[in-house]
Amino acid sequence: MISRMDEATTLLVALPLLLVLIEGGGRVYARLRTYLMARCVAQISNMIMTEEEPSDWAMRSLRWRYSMRIVIDSVHFVAEKIYGDALYRLALIAEVCELDRYLLEMVGCRQSVARAKLYSKLSCLPYSISVAEFAEDFVAECERGDFYAMAAVVSARPERAVKYIGRYSGELSLHEVAVLVMILRRTGTAIAYTPLLASQNRNLQLVGIYLCEHFLLADAEPHLQRLVESADVEVSYLALQALCSVRGDISTPQVGSALSNLAPHQRNAFLLRAVHNCYSLRSCAHHLTREECAIFSQRINSYKSRIVCN
């Protein structure tokens, strides 16, 4: 009885202690990782800034000193913060350290979410030549609807981005479009938005709409007015939002018919965006119900201060 009580008490005390120890160990690891990553970033940035190209030995020494994950995350961190000629030096470091080759090997060993995360890391590396060589292998995965594989390929071959996005079989979400545009901006790829908006492909239309909204391209208004009438509700809704952002004309019948097809919360979101973009009530009153007009004017008035004269 007494031994059982001792065992029971030990179990009672050990379990939470174990959990606390695990939590404490996790925090120590996180701090150590931050310290190591800072050191790795410092070495990488020193290599970038030297006048002469660093030796292969110096670049490979990163792999010996730090774990692969830390080197990959450090290269990604630096790639996000710099551009220009220094990016080529960084790509050279990534190539000599065989980061993309390592990730490609790991991709074959993983599945599901882990695989998607590896592809995501691959898409963040600068100018992966190895990935460019394997690009056509990935395209088959893109056609099966693997977004992160497609992002990796677009990062490796940004000049063919439109082709890959057009061949992608799945439906891109707004977040995925934002990731693709971020990759294209990082690689400095120039893309004309007019062919994207004029395309019949839904994904290319979304990319075009996102570009118009992100860079506030007022010239794209005629295309946006046309896309507002699209049969795809998502495309129509995003075109409407983009039209609002570029301060286009929202009194047109196309906008009215698009609004009538939206869900109530989407109409509300459009109202709020119109107020935020300083539209007057008159610009869209004929598309709105009386309640919506009241909400619109109340929102506008809530930005104003009441002057009381005695």
Binding site: M5, A8, G145, L174, L272
Partner: protein, 326 residues
């Protein structure tokens, strides 16, 4: 004793199921790449109701996500020092508030730097309408509700915006924090939506991840105690476990009636409440009934455009033989 043993088994199985669901959903939402810049011009309005200090507001203003605002609702007549602090700090000025039912005043900032700050003076007697008032003031359609002294984790709003952008815009959306005192996020008119996607959110909504350890301990401990007490024939352990379960249940009931909560106990309560909700909805699904008109896959979110070989049971595919570097 047999009944207690069975109940403890059910508790333990349910806890393991809950944690595995949480982990699975966390893994899927963790695929959402955290973009700290504007994502499709999605804006997030964070509504803080009746905090005691300005700490939640400061935490919201620390957010790097540019398209966000912080709506601070409090009974400022009873907290005059807080009002004067806010007015001086953020250069507030009174604006029109007549459309807000029950509100005494509405303040915005004169300075462009603090354009994201909105302060509403709402009497404590109208506390139940706080979120409706916040909704009436909000500039964006995506709303994060916080009660009391809930302080958001860094990049919480960016995380919410990114998750919103990964879902179709036609659906209502609700993000629930597994650990967090009264923090939840919704897009659109969730109550009247035909289809609602409910996602489990990780710690980024509120509180620190470390608090989850204590909460999980509270879930596992009674069941572990009961099992071990039964196996080791220890009556003291069994009695302690029963007392712990009863105390937790009582506290849960009491805390539901309390508006403001404190730190660790609040977190524990929220995890247990989510756990109970999870168990009830699972049981209701097994029996064939639905709760709140939600589809059976309440807590499951299919990874978008997931190809066939992403299923857990399929073998890994080796399609990239390594080639020598040039």
């Amino acid at each position: 004793m047999q009944l207690i043993f069975i109940l403890s088994l059910v508790w333990l199985v349910g806890a393991i199921w809950f944690v595995s669901w949480w982990h699975r959903t966390y893994r899927r939402t963790s695929l959402v790449h955290l973009l700290r810049e504007d994502v499709g011009h999605i804006g997030v309005s964070a509504i803080v109701a009746y905090p005691e200090t300005s700490a939640p507001l400061v935490a919201l203003l620390e957010e790097e996500y540019p398209r966000s605002e912080a709506i601070f609702i409090a009974d400022l007549q009873q907290q005059e020092s807080l009002l004067s602090e806010l007015v001086v700090r953020y250069h507030l000025v009174k604006v029109n508030h007549l459309h807000l039912t029950g509100a005494r005043a509405l303040y915005r900032s004169r300075r462009r730097t603090y354009r994201r700050v909105v302060v509403v003076d709402l009497p404590a007697t109208h506390s139940l309408q706080a979120f409706d008032v916040g909704k009436a003031v909000a500039s964006y359609d995506n709303l994060l509700y916080l009660r009391g002294e809930s302080v958001v984790e860094p990049n919480a709003l960016a995380y919410c915006a990114n998750v919103v952008a990964s879902q179709p815009s036609s659906r209502g959306l609700q993000l629930r924090s597994v650990v967090g005192a009264d923090a939840y996020f919704e897009r659109g008119d969730v109550a009247n939506s035909e289809r609602v996607v409910r996602l489990c959110a990780d710690a980024p909504l509120a509180w620190r991840r470390g608090a989850q350890i204590f909460a999980l301990t509270a879930m596992f401990l009674p069941s572990a105690m009961i099992l071990s007490g039964h196996l080791l024939d220890s009556k003291i352990m069994l009695a302690s476990a029963v007392v712990l379960i009863v105390a937790t249940g009582l506290f849960l009931y009491v805390s539901c009636c309390v508006v403001t909560k404190k730190s660790l106990i609040a977190r524990l309560d929220t995890v247990l409440r989510n756990f109970y909700r999870f168990m009830v909805e699972r049981i209701a699904t097994i029996r064939g009934s639905r709760i709140h008109d939600t589809p059976p896959c309440l807590f499951r979110v299919r990874v978008r455009n997931r190809p066939a070989h992403y299923r857990e049971d399929s073998p890994p595919k080796r399609s990239h033989p390594s080639r020598p570097m040039p």
